[in-house]
């Protein structure tokens, strides 16, 4: 049960605290969101609220979704996500959710996003393997090395850390501090970095 909002990452900059210290911040365009649907314990087996991020309207909306928005009597949105707010009764269908309603400077938040894709990455980059010496006649540089024993077990254990696809996965960064919330601009400044590329979707959850 957390209050959440959908946001898009805009980029990073820095602001100054009163004592002159410099705070690195990520600027996020958070909301406004619109409540599209309610899920109830009786009807759906769980309680949640479906919200959509209000931005540019979708260009080509598939007919089933267009019908859905018409049925809910809500303007079409590009992104729909379910959240589990603390008091779902406040979220009637069609209600606008803005960032200043939920967050205040000083709050702690968890931010969920999709990390930047790194492609097929080796063990050194993907798992932090140390690799070998670069010079002095060394012939072992960035290879993974031994991946297990020989005749017993005669196989590689499951979960063995090997090269492979890295990034582009759901990442949660916990316990970030809200530095500022800019009213009427729908902007939120969060201390530190947030997963994903500029323009990518993130969900900001308030820590309880």
């Amino acid at each position: 049960m957390t209050d959440s909002i959908l946001a898009r990452k805009i980029g990073m900059t820095q602001v100054y605290a009163d004592d002159g210290s410099c705070i690195p911040v990520t600027v996020l365009k958070a909301g406004p969101c619109i409540v599209v649907n309610e899920k109830t314990q009786e009807k759906d087996g769980y309680a949640a609220v479906q919200i959509g991020l209000v931005e540019k309207e979708p260009k080509n909306l598939v007919k089933p979704l267009a019908g859905y928005f018409k049925q809910q009597n809500v303007a079409p949105v590009r992104v729909l996500r379910e959240i589990k707010p603390k008091s779902p009764e406040k979220y009637a269908i069609g209600t606008k959710v803005t960032v200043e309603q939920i967050f205040n400077p000083g709050d702690r938040v968890n931010v969920i996003g999709t990390s930047k894709g790194k492609g097929f990455a080796g063990g050194v980059k993907r798992h932090g393997f140390r690799g070998g010496p670069a010079t002095h006649g060394s012939m072992f540089h960035r290879a993974p090395g031994s991946i297990g024993s020989s005749s017993y077990p005669s196989r590689v254990y499951k979960g063995q850390r090997l090269p492979g696809h890295m990034g582009h996965e759901r990442v949660t960064v916990e316990n970030l501090k809200v530095v500022d919330v800019l009213k009427n601009k729908d902007l939120i400044l969060i201390r530190g970095a947030v997963p994903g590329t500029v323009g990518s979707l993130v969900i900001i959850n308030k820590m309880s």
Partner: protein
């Protein structure tokens, strides 16, 4: 950089910053906090360089204090910088005056701009005041 961040930085940045460049001698009024009291200390020296732009711009000021070279880097928009005053405009041909580090005495000085008879903005201001 996105316009949103640019506008945000502009709204947070200091307005009416003194127009100075490397080679100028400036007085930087620095807020110093001691316990719950704060006072202002003036730091005077030659501007060695300015770097960055917008909210992130910084400048380096060098002075020789009791025979020891001191360089301090100030962010232009930091709240600890109360104000910046121009003492003398310098005449230099470089953006970064790192050559001052190895020099002593007269060689470590920067020629003033108005020695060449060029009316500087600082000189104009004093003339107007008179």
């Amino acid at each position: 950089m996105s316009m949103v961040i640019e506008n945000l930085e502009q709204s947070l940045a200091r307005k009416n910053v003194l127009n100075f460049r490397s080679g100028d001698i400036v007085k930087v009024h620095v807020k110093i906090k001691e316990g719950d009291k704060s006072r202002i200390q003036v730091y005077e020296g030659i501007v060695m360089r300015r770097r960055g732009r917008g909210l992130k711009e910084t400048f380096t000021v060098r002075k020789v204090s009791y025979g020891v070279g001191v360089e301090r880097i100030f962010p232009i928009n930091s709240p600890i910088v109360d104000k910046i005053d121009m003492v003398r405009e310098g005449n230099v041909r470089r953006a970064c005056l790192y050559y001052l580090r190895g020099k002593k005495g007269k060689a470590a000085q920067v020629r003033a701009k108005n020695l060449y008879g060029v009316a500087t903005s600082a000189a104009k201001a004093t003339a107007q005041a008179e």
